[in-house]
């Protein structure tokens, strides 16, 4: 009889039930979307904060003191120590390899642009004197072979996202040039390396994309070494790099005779904001605490595991970036959780109101049941069962809709859809059930006080 009553209530007035169910589903869809997006938002925001650039810098441990002013190192090539770039794939094998977003090794040397004479037809000859510049060897789009198979694409454009190359970045491999070989046809030979010129340097030397530039650097053995490169882009960085010439790392290594070596490595890693626990010295921790510390993606524990992976290195946290990021991230995250809470509250209110409405309109039915002898408990039980059924169905549909909505919102705002999570599903079903029960409990209690007779009379 009970099941029949429930089934009856669903089949007799399907439109009404569909309406209530739809309201429930829509409310829960929005709750799902808000919850999925905000569960994801911490990671996404941390990702966004990587546009601040590298938060770790690796230098050789045995290095001499860098003479760095305004981001430019003025040490001669043969001073100081170097690190081998063959170790770099190991960075993607450390415990925190998923948190390492990008890294780029840098070899900075001081180089000379020789004097050039520009002669254009119809205009007087112009000569540009030789000048000292900073030559930076780095990666732009290195496809790094990882030890475990697969490749990792990284480079300076990712560790320093505020670098904009007008034109395009150089290709680390260089390009092939088509050479006509008479009389057989043609063949391809490696062309000169590509390079990117800082905008101020380009303006001063009158350099443009598509032209080539000759640079000479002091080699350790031989006094001078020349290299010509094809300009593929003009770099604007708002920093000292605007006066520099950027070339693929291996070309600069050859130029200064430092094969396979670099001086500085920038690492951009996703981190958890540091709390007071993170700031403690790992040496003073107990085994348990050390375990907990090294299993949290604090910037200091990531630095520690990088140091383990790269022998002879000194890994430092760029405090200005890491600390600023940490404090803002904490604030913004709290704000967004509050916003999510507000959305959930609104959803609960909407669903509760609509289920309350659906009970209120069945007053006469309830009155009739009571008139023919149903107790308060059995009426409540029947209605509760109905509401629960509706909540599960509506919540389920709402969850599916909400995942779609979350995809749209996530894609629109962060360019990446959040993963559907089982946790959200459970929370949503629980919320749907709880809110519908609560919403219908209030009118039910009032209904319990009704005298059946006046209601049945239509008063």
């Amino acid at each position: 009889m009970f099941l029949r009553l429930v089934a009856d209530s669903f089949t007799r007035r399907p439109r009404r039930k569909v309406l209530t169910g739809a309201a429930l589903a829509l409310g829960m869809a929005i709750a799902t979307a808000a919850l999925s997006v905000s569960l994801d938002v911490g990671d996404r925001l941390a990702q966004e904060f990587r546009s601040l650039g590298a938060n770790l810098v690796v230098t050789p441990q045995a290095d001499s003191l860098p003479l760095e002013i305004g981001g430019v190192d003025y040490r001669p090539v043969n001073a100081g120590a170097y690190l081998p770039d063959s170790d770099l794939p190991k960075l993607k094998t450390i415990f925190w390899h998923n948190n390492i977003v990008a890294f780029a090794p840098v070899l900075e040397v001081s180089a000379t642009l020789p004097n050039v004479t520009i002669s254009k037809y119809g205009s007087p000859q112009r000569s540009i004197p030789a000048m000292q510049i900073q030559l930076i060897g780095t990666w732009a789009d290195e496809h790094l072979q990882l030890p475990g198979g697969g490749t990792f694409v990284t480079g300076i454009a990712k560790t320093n996202p505020w670098f904009h190359a007008e034109g395009k970045w150089f290709s680390d491999e260089g390009h092939l040039e088509r050479i006509e070989v008479a009389p057989m046809g043609h063949t391809y030979l490696p062309g000169p390396p590509e390079c990117v010129v800082g905008e101020k340097l380009a303006a001063r030397r009158n350099l443009h994309v598509g032209e080539s530039v000759v640079v000479s650097a002091p080699k350790v053995e031989s006094p001078q070494n020349m290299q010509s490169c094809d300009i593929t882009g003009i770099l604007s960085s708002g920093g000292p790099e605007d006066d520099a010439l950027l070339m693929p790392l291996h070309n600069v290594q050859e130029l200064v005779n430092k094969p396979g070596q670099y001086r500085k490595l920038y690492v951009s890693a996703l981190t958890k904001p540091e709390d007071s626990f993170a700031k403690r010295d790992p040496k003073s921790m107990s085994a348990d605490e050390f375990e907990r510390w090294s299993c949290s993606p604090y910037v200091s524990s990531i630095a520690y595991s990088i140091q383990q992976a790269l022998p002879g290195s000194d890994v430092r946290v760029i405090r200005r970036v890491a600390e600023g990021e940490g404090s803002i991230l904490t604030h913004v995250r709290t704000l967004l959780w509050l916003v999510t809470f507000a959305a959930l509250l609104a959803a609960a209110l909407a669903v509760g109101a609509s289920s309350a409405a659906s009970v209120i309109e069945r007053r006469s039915e309830i009155a009739l049941m009571k008139a023919i002898g149903a107790g308060r408990g059995s009426v409540g039980f029947l209605l509760a069962a109905e509401q629960l059924l509706l909540a599960v169905v509506g919540g389920g549909i709402g969850y599916a809709l909400g995942i779609l909505l979350a995809r749209v919102v996530g894609q629109k705002i962060f360019g990446a859809a959040p993963e559907p999570s089982l946790l959200v599903f459970v929370i949503i079903l629980g919320l749907a059930a709880g809110v519908t029960m609560l919403g219908s409990a209030i009118p039910l209690r009032r209904a319990a006080r009704f005298q059946p007779a006046p209601i049945l009379r239509g008063e």
Binding site: S51, L52, L65, G70, G324, I328, V339, L345, A357
Partner: protein, 417 residues
């Protein structure tokens, strides 16, 4: 004619409002539910919109924590470490848009040979290190907290730390803060004296602290500007008051900073003035994400509010079949009846909006305080916008009432469903 219609309309209008009043008060619990939904929606909308308009300013404040965002230096042609120095421009730097003085620090960098005091005599080679002299106004806003002490309030060394024998050179040593790596290279500890020398001059300084700054500053030694300037003086020349770099912390949004930089470039054409893009660009990106999220939430909350009101209105439509049947039977035109209900909805929206938006504004002030530690500045424009949005939502969600238009009086009175 017009007078007659005016007369006939006056009691009509009175009647109209009387009916509206009765409609509103007929079912108090339902009135409460609808008002609650609308007010909650309005509150959340107003709070989020206020936070959103405020977020730009707030993020600007947060991002100032990163320190300097604009850099001025002489235009350099050579790659020499001794940057071209420029006269100090402290008094010529214009105030920011809101008329405040822009925090600034002037740096003079110098490549020096450093060695622990007394060892130069043993002809031990000094270590090449960068010495930075700094001085500025409101330094705290520009630099990582630990460097600023030399610039703001030099600590006098306690007499016990001074060597007992005569100190040649300046009678009182300058105060230095030494970066951790520089200290390791020099093998010195806090409390020791360091001897710094360039080609022509010599400076003895007291290492008041060894610091880890977490940046290139770790490789440098910091002292006050005047001490470094003294090192650069040639014999017989004591007038130059130069710096190599001036760092500024300009308040405001990325766009305001760009404007300010343009202003500086115009004023100092000989200098290379640029914004430190690393932080200003990230700020713009992050603002757009947060603003997008807040907008999306506002839209979702408004949809939910509409849903909630709609559920209640469906009920209203059911209950009012009899009333509408009666109205129609005594000659009420469908349009006038519907206008009655729309007025009711708009009034509900207005009341809910007025109450809710006020709560929401207060809420956002409190949220700002709780989350960011600074109360959000209430933007008055947000209030009318939230109220208007609530009214629109209320009217849209009275859509279920359209069913009343098709009520046929005769069937209602016969008691048909």
């Amino acid at each position: 004619m017009s007078k007659a219609s005016a007369i006939s309309r006056t009691p009509n209008r009175k009647m109209f409002w009387r009916i509206v009043r009765h409609l509103l008060t007929a079912n108090r619990s339902r009135l409460f539910v609808i008002l609650l939904a609308l007010a909650a929606g309005a509150a959340i909308t107003a709070a989020l919109l206020n936070l959103q308009t405020d977020a730009r300013r707030r993020l600007s404040v947060e991002f100032r924590a990163f320190g300097a965002n604009v850099m001025m230096r002489g235009k350099s042609d050579s790659g020499s470490p001794n940057l071209p120095s420029t006269p100090r421009l402290d008094n010529e730097i214009p105030p920011s848009d809101d008329g405040q003085e822009v925090p600034r620090v002037g740096f003079l960098y110098l490549l020096v040979e450093a060695s622990p005091y007394g060892q130069a005599a043993l002809s031990r080679q000094g270590v090449a290190v960068i010495l930075a002299g700094l001085e500025g106004r409101n330094v705290r806003r520009v630099l990582p907290a630990r460097i600023l002490e030399v610039a703001e309030r030099p600590v006098a060394p306690s007499p016990g730390n001074l060597p007992s024998n005569e100190v040649s050179g300046p009678a009182r040593p300058s105060i230095c803060r030494v970066g951790q790596k520089a200290a390791a290279a020099l093998q010195i500890h806090a409390g020791q004296l360091i001897e710094l020398a360039n080609r022509t001059n010599r400076l003895v300084c007291f290492a008041s602290a060894i610091e880890e700054f977490g940046g290139p500053e770790d490789n440098q030694i910091f002292t006050d500007l005047f001490s470094v300037q003294q090192l650069t003086w040639d014999p017989g020349e004591y007038v130059v008051n130069n710096v190599s770099v001036i760092l500024l912390n300009v308040p405001g949004t990325p766009a305001q900073i760009v404007n300010y930089v343009a202003k500086l470039q115009k004023q100092f054409p000989d200098l290379d003035v640029h914004a430190i893009r690393q932080f200003s660009e990230a700020q713009g990106k992050i603002y757009s994400k947060i603003s997008g999220l807040l907008t999306a939430t506002v839209v979702l909350v408004l949809v939910l509010t509409a849903l909630c009101v709609m559920a209640a209105m469906t009920n209203v439509a059911m209950e009012r079949r009899n009333d509408v049947g009666l109205m129609k039977a005594i000659g009420g035109a469908t349009r006038r009846v519907l206008r009655l209900f729309l007025t009711e909805a708009a009034l509900l929206g207005l009341a809910g909006g007025l109450i809710g938006a006020a709560i929401g504004m207060a809420l956002s002030v409190w949220l700002g305080e709780a989350v960011f530690g600074i109360a959000a500045r209430p933007r008055l424009i947000v209030y009318p916008i939230s109220v208007a949005l609530t009214i629109i939502v209320a009217i849209i969600s009275s859509y279920p009432l359209r069913r009343l238009a098709s009520v046929r009086p005769a069937s209602v009175f016969r008691g048909e469903a």
